[in-house]
């Protein structure tokens, strides 16, 4: 039985749910605790409010990623990846900075976890 109406409703619900989900992510206040992980392993856990300006170099199979911390913010400064999406993401805000080719992720730690560390 063909019932296109049902599937139009399904598509509309997915679309609206996705927009709401986006808004939730964008309006979520940024944390201070940042983790840098590669291939599922956490390399660094940093408290941005206490970090001084510096760069961190992470290597993956001969390719390098340079992460810069400046004025309590963090971003990908240089990367040996073909797409440079990680650099174009800019400073870490709502979305995690992901370098797919080099399997590197910079993200805010879970809020509840960050609070637990702070206390």
């Amino acid at each position: 039985m063909k019932n296109a109406k049902l599937w139009i409703i399904v598509a509309a619900v997915i679309f609206i749910a996705a927009i709401v989900w986006c808004v939730i992510i964008i309006t979520k206040p940024p944390g201070e605790i940042v983790t840098i992980s590669q291939d599922g392993e956490t390399l660094y856990t940093l408290d941005l409010s206490e970090e001084s300006d510096r760069t961190i170099t992470v290597e993956y199979e001969g390719r390098e990623n340079v992460i810069e911390i400046k004025d309590g913010r963090i971003h990908m400064l240089e990367a040996d990846c073909p797409d440079h999406t990680c650099i174009n993401t800019g400073w870490l805000e709502d979305l995690p900075i992901v370098c797919l080719p080099n399997k590197l992720v910079i993200e805010f730690a879970d809020e509840s976890g960050a609070d637990a560390v702070a206390r």
Partner: protein
């Protein structure tokens, strides 16, 4: 497979490849990995409704593999395949419940499945759930892009009948 049919499938694949290569030239404005229009899927959606499941799979996978070679980005191949398989299976099932007048709905849902497939592959490769944060953004753009490609495919459907060839 008849020679005529084979030539027709080759033609569809070539059209998809050309669209794909042209789209590679359009710079990615959003800093979200994997976000794109996916105009080559006009051919995929069209094929879902006019070719057999096997033929559609042939067109899609030939385009994905050759497209990655032409684009020089073999790293993207894995993500395209993950998304492509999900999208294809989903649309072949939806073809049974969505009629030809609503191809655009099938296309939108196919795009949604494509995005979910991409994220599953990314999460598995990167060993992190962090990439799921990208899913809602991909879904919003995917729905809009899917609607666009679906409407294009629908326009073609009413004008080109493969049996005429």
């Amino acid at each position: 497979m008849k020679a005529k049919r084979l030539a027709l499938l080759g033609l569809l694949t070539t059209i998809a490849l050309i669209i794909f290569v042209v789209e590679l030239r359009i710079p990615n404005i959003a800093p979200v990995p994997g976000m794109k229009l996916g105009l080559a899927n006009i051919v995929t959606v069209y094929a879902v409704y006019h070719c057999t499941a096997k033929e559609t799979a042939l067109i899609l996978f030939t385009r994905i593999i050759l497209g990655s070679l032409f684009g020089g980005n073999m790293l993207a191949l894995l993500y395209s395949l993950g998304g492509g398989i999900m999208c294809l299976l989903g649309m072949l099932l939806l073809r049974k419940v969505i009629d030809e007048k609503h191809i655009w709905v099938c296309s939108v849902l196919g795009a949604v499945l494509h995005n979910i497939g991409q994220i599953i592959v990314a999460a598995a490769v990167m060993q992190t759930a962090a990439v799921i944060t990208y899913l809602p953004f991909l879904l919003v753009s995917g729905c809009v892009a899917g609607l666009l490609t679906g409407l294009c495919a629908q326009l073609l459907t009413s004008r080109i009948n493969l049996n005429d060839f």
